[in-house]
Point group: C2
Chain length 337, copies 2
């Protein structure tokens, strides 16, 4: 495929000049224009359609590229994008607002046609408003932003959290600790809401000392569980925010000599990757991340094509898979004695 | 952060015009130039350095964004890129040469400063030559390309394959089947070389009927194992190419009623993700994918800075983790009778 750079080289001019000729914008000396057009013809250069341009490009901004949950979103987005002649760039913010701002900036500088964004959290609002100001349509994925009216595709996190905790309650657990992500993210607050819903519905008190926030990232520090399980009123079960928290906390618990589920039960939001979980023991909820991406891309398309002017909000159901990380609570030693 | 678009809006001109003023290229009417400069000052617009531009951008081209092995490469690349003021776009080829060509094209059209590429395989050569032709430096990651002299970071795949198979031989297995990816990829050929090395070193014949190629992707079809384990001379162990093959084949074997490792042992190249593998049973080799990305980025930097003119080839050691998917071969029923 011939590029603008090829044409520029052949015509002996800058790429900028070729761009000006191609886009009919800006001043180009007639003799130079002639040279560029001749080079385009010689090289069979096709200026639009088959040529990648900012207007063929979508951006996906995710907070953690190493979390399969987000790469599945990428996969779903791409399948729709390609069907409609768009290509996707993926950018990773590492849950960092500054990096998010930079990639939003790149959306503007590169004039991408639209974006799917999994925002860091509510403070991302300022970054996203810039997209709107510059008429770059975007769709929020997974995390709602308080007070921001935007297209959205997310999971039924509150209901799913409630179901996960109810599974523990049904097994007989009454002291259940919750670990969720930072509360600037709606997806963490919704997890906690669901946890409370389940306890309150069962008529159990919510013990705030059993509620923890911790990063949902690969480098989270699970050492706080040492004190938690060492308490005289230690929980018999844990409700966790995602697979990174599951992995770190389960590893920590095993390191403390605890056996799962005999000593302590664990439920978690899960890995979307049914393949990675072929050996998994985790009782977990699995979100349809691929569909977050594909439906988000559909919403974006509608915006680009101008067929819809008001925001659409899509909430998808999660599956719960019961595996072997959960069992009835252990018989208390105090009762035995 | 103020963008060119902001300046353009304020000055009432096109972004292209602002770009011409900023880059001192092309014709701009003096009065227009004055307006643009005034707008830049009013908005505190910083034209270079803090401004994203193609020259701040690197591209990572991977064959499967949903494979954690490749997202770890992204993570390693990004950490180095950011330290040096570069940002990274990630593109996913789906092991498809056509998509690879398109993303290479985008590297040219967007004038990215450099790229890390995990190529589809040897036929990717033509795509990559285009990068060289346009002076876009790149580093090959994971997969060498026959006859292409380029910077490279990869694993010691042949030696690691040999060690995985030797682990099976040491347990007493003699009939070991191999499943690797398509042979247009050097990384698949190297797996097979290591498999042969191990058998030949032990003085065992290589039975070509026990060698299979299958996709290394999430959608691979493992149904061929039905016939394999149904043979009268069925293998007692399998050597597999990656975690997708492991997951599909293990699932298939379990579906056939086989127990691992009692009925059949399985070794595989592994998931780089030590967290995803918290519950894993797989005896597997783990490649330092993060370092592929970070060292690849270092090599790219050297090229961009022009401090090195000849190709460098870095080969990294893989760890082997023995878990519970391997055991001595079952006692043959024929021997019992």
């Amino acid at each position: 495929m011939t590029t603008m750079a090829d044409v520029a080289k052949r015509a002996g001019v800058s790429i900028m000049t070729v761009s000006r000729v191609v886009n009919n914008s800006g001043y180009v000396k007639p003799s130079t224009r002639q040279k560029v057009l001749a080079a385009m013809q010689e090289l069979n250069y096709v200026p639009k359609g088959q040529q990648s341009s900012p207007h063929d490009t979508w951006m996906l901004i995710v907070p953690d590229i190493t979390n399969p949950f987000f790469t599945f979103i990428a996969r779903g987005m791409e399948d729709v994008a390609r069907k409609h002649g768009f290509r996707v760039f993926i950018a990773n913010t590492d849950e960092d607002l500054q990096k998010e701002q930079e990639y939003v900036q790149m959306c503007l500088d590169y004039q991408v046609r639209g974006a799917l964004v999994v925002p860091v959290g509510d403070p991302s609002r300022e970054n996203l408003v810039r997209l709107t100001e510059h008429q770059v349509p975007f769709v929020l994925i997974d995390r709602e932003i308080e007070g921001l009216d935007a297209d959205l595709v997310k999971g039924d996190i509150r209901e799913t959290s409630r179901r996960l905790v109810e599974h523990l309650l049904d097994l007989g657990h009454e002291r259940i600790a919750a670990v969720v992500g930072p509360l600037h993210s709606a997806s963490s607050r919704e997890r906690l809401d669901g946890y409370r819903d389940a306890l309150l519905h069962k008529g159990l008190p919510v013990d705030e000392s059993l509620i923890f926030t911790a990063p949902m990232t690969r480098d989270m520090d699970a050492s706080f569980v040492d004190a938690l399980v060492g308490r005289s009123d230690a929980p018999t079960a844990l409700f966790l925010g995602n697979m990174f928290q599951y992995a770190h906390i389960v590893r920590r618990l095993r390191g403390l000599g605890l056996s799962i589920p005999h000593d302590i039960s664990v439920v978690s939001f899960g890995n979307t990757d049914d393949l990675a979980s072929v050996d998994s023991l985790a009782t977990a909820a699995v979100q349809p991340a691929y569909n977050y991406g594909s439906l988000g891309a559909q919403l974006l398309l509608e915006r680009i094509e101008g067929v819809r002017k008001t925001s659409t909000r899509i909430v998808l159901h999660s599956e719960m898979v019961v595996r072997s990380s959960t069992a009835p609570p252990p018989v208390r030693m105090t009762k035995k004695r």
